[in-house]
């Protein structure tokens, strides 16, 4: 991993003694890590985790088909929640910066409430409460609505940071040209805001993907839920959870890398929401 300029500045150019120490450190840590890996593999082997009985379900096409269906469920729920949040966040943001005080208070309260409450609590809410009133809801919406709630509240704050990052002169110039409030936003501020926040929006997609794992609770067929079904029908726990964890990590890592690439390409920082 490359050093950043600050990290590089922390350490002086190494002399012969420091170079030797770094070399010793490199060898020592490499040995420790190698030993760790060997110990881990031995531990797995000692518990019979390499037995074919635990792994041969991955040789079957059906396992992958089922996991793949779960993966598509995850993507479907994530994208729906993401799209809803794009709009929901914008509505909340306009409420948050509204000139009408009660609207502003309400939007602020909603944002703080949703951001401060676990998404899982909302999932349980939509899982348990509508049925108490005799309302039938599909498991898909039980996942998508709560996940989009949280994402909307976070995006509202991201949008707001983006609006603030647009230079004030832009608004003043637009107003002095005689544009109305709506036009100032729609043709001057929002287009620039979106350019600023696109990388941040992409990083928020990671949170959305993570939140859809709560499909596990309401039995919506996303990847975590489908993994649960596979585990229930086989003897292999560790391999299934390991593979699923790896897929999640790779997907989210790819999304974060994409966000970082967007951020460096368009030279805008990823905002912290």
């Amino acid at each position: 991993m490359a050093m950043t300029p600050t990290e590089a500045a922390l350490f002086e150019a190494a002399g012969p003694r420091a170079r030797r120490r770094i070399l010793i450190g490199t060898i020592a840590t490499s040995l420790v890590f190698a030993a760790l890996v060997v110990w881990l593999l031995m531990r797995l082997d000692a518990n019979g985790q390499f037995d074919p009985q635990y792994w041969d379900l991955f040789a079957s096409v059906n396992t992958w088909k089922f996991l793949g269906a779960g993966f598509i469920g995850t993507i479907r729920a994530s994208l729906s929640a993401g799209v809803i949040a794009l709009v929901g966040g914008l509505v909340l943001m306009f409420g948050r910066i509204s000139g009408i005080a009660p609207v502003r208070w309400l939007a602020t309260a909603v944002i703080e409430f949703v951001r401060g409450t676990p998404t899982l609590l909302f999932i349980y809410f939509f899982f348990l409460v509508p049925s108490q009133f005799g309302i039938h809801m599909s498991t898909y919406w039980m996942v998508v609505i709560p996940v989009s709630f949280y994402a909307s509240a976070v995006l509202a704050e991201v949008y707001r940071a983006g609006v603030q990052a647009v230079p004030a002169g832009q608004r003043e110039a637009a107003e002095s040209l005689g544009l109305g409030r709506w036009q100032v936003y729609s043709s001057v501020i929002l287009p620039q805001m979106f350019r600023i926040i696109v990388p941040t929006m992409v990083t928020q997609l990671v949170v959305v993907v993570k939140d859809t794992t709560f499909g596990y609770v309401v039995t919506y067929p996303e990847m975590m839920q489908n993994a649960k079904v596979i585990v229930a029908n086989s003897t292999s726990m560790l391999p299934v959870y390991l593979i699923v964890a790896l897929i999640y990590i790779l997907v989210n890592y790819a999304i974060s890398r994409f966000a970082r690439w967007l951020s460096s390409r368009s030279d805008v920082k990823i905002l912290v929401a």
């Binding site: 450190g25 809410f125 726990m237 989210n252």
Partner: protein
């Protein structure tokens, strides 16, 4: 529904489950605070290794951070609870939740600390070195004071999200239920509806607001220290 009016439901709820709510909130706080503190200490160690000039150490810590930043907490928790016993490592449920949150929060904490350190202008470090300060002196009086003050806000956010994430514990049978688990339990026993959720949510939101307020005070102090 047991009671018709909202007030009736609330007083029934307070009488029948008030004690449970307070106990569960205690469990939520306990899990959150323990996980965050251990996570923070681990994050400091990880960051030291992460910025050390030893390449394999840096690579390994980067890998650790990417893994635990990107894994969903639920996925990690299920792995710890149902996967690890297969290799003879069985933790009780609450330690499992804490372990999952420690792994995740240490990764995010390490990232926060590292970006705090990288916010320090390299020119300042070079200037300090040319004035003859040692490595320890540079770290103590130039890097850490600035890094720590920029890191307060993200760490406060992390603390709040660790407390919120402790709700994932509702999905494994914790003996003393935490807040979210309690609400689902109440609603499977008696359909008390919306108020049960609102009360729990207010506990979480209030906790977040209080921590946020304390964080802002600390941040102000940290700025003065500079």
């Amino acid at each position: 529904m047991h009671q018709d009016s909202l007030w009736g439901t609330m007083s029934y709820l307070a009488g029948r489950f008030g004690h449970d709510y307070v106990m569960s909130y205690g469990v939520t706080l306990r899990i959150g605070v323990i996980s965050f503190i251990i996570g923070l200490l681990l994050a400091i160690l990880l960051t030291m290794a992460r910025i050390s000039p030893i390449p394999p150490l840096r690579t390994a810590i980067s890998g650790y951070v990417e893994i635990f930043r990107n894994i969903p907490v639920l996925c990690l928790l299920l792995f710890i609870v149902y996967g690890l016993p297969e290799v003879g490592l069985t933790l009780d449920y609450e330690p499992s939740v804490i372990a999952a949150l420690v792994l995740v929060s240490s990764a995010f904490g390490c990232d926060n600390l590292r970006s705090g350190i990288n916010a320090v202008d390299p020119g300042q470090i070079e200037a300090a070195r040319s004035l003859g300060l040692s490595f320890g002196g540079i770290t103590r009086s130039i890097v850490l004071p600035q890094a720590l003050s920029t890191v307060v806000q993200p760490m406060v956010t992390l603390f709040i999200s660790v407390i919120i994430s402790s709700s994932t514990g509702a999905l494994v049978p914790i003996a003393h239920n935490e807040l979210t688990g309690l609400v689902s339990q109440i609603n499977t026993k008696e359909a008390l509806g919306i108020p049960t959720f609102v009360v729990a949510a207010l506990f979480y939101v209030a906790t977040g607001l209080v921590i946020g307020a304390i964080g802002r005070i600390i941040e102000k102090r940290a700025v003065i220290w500079r």
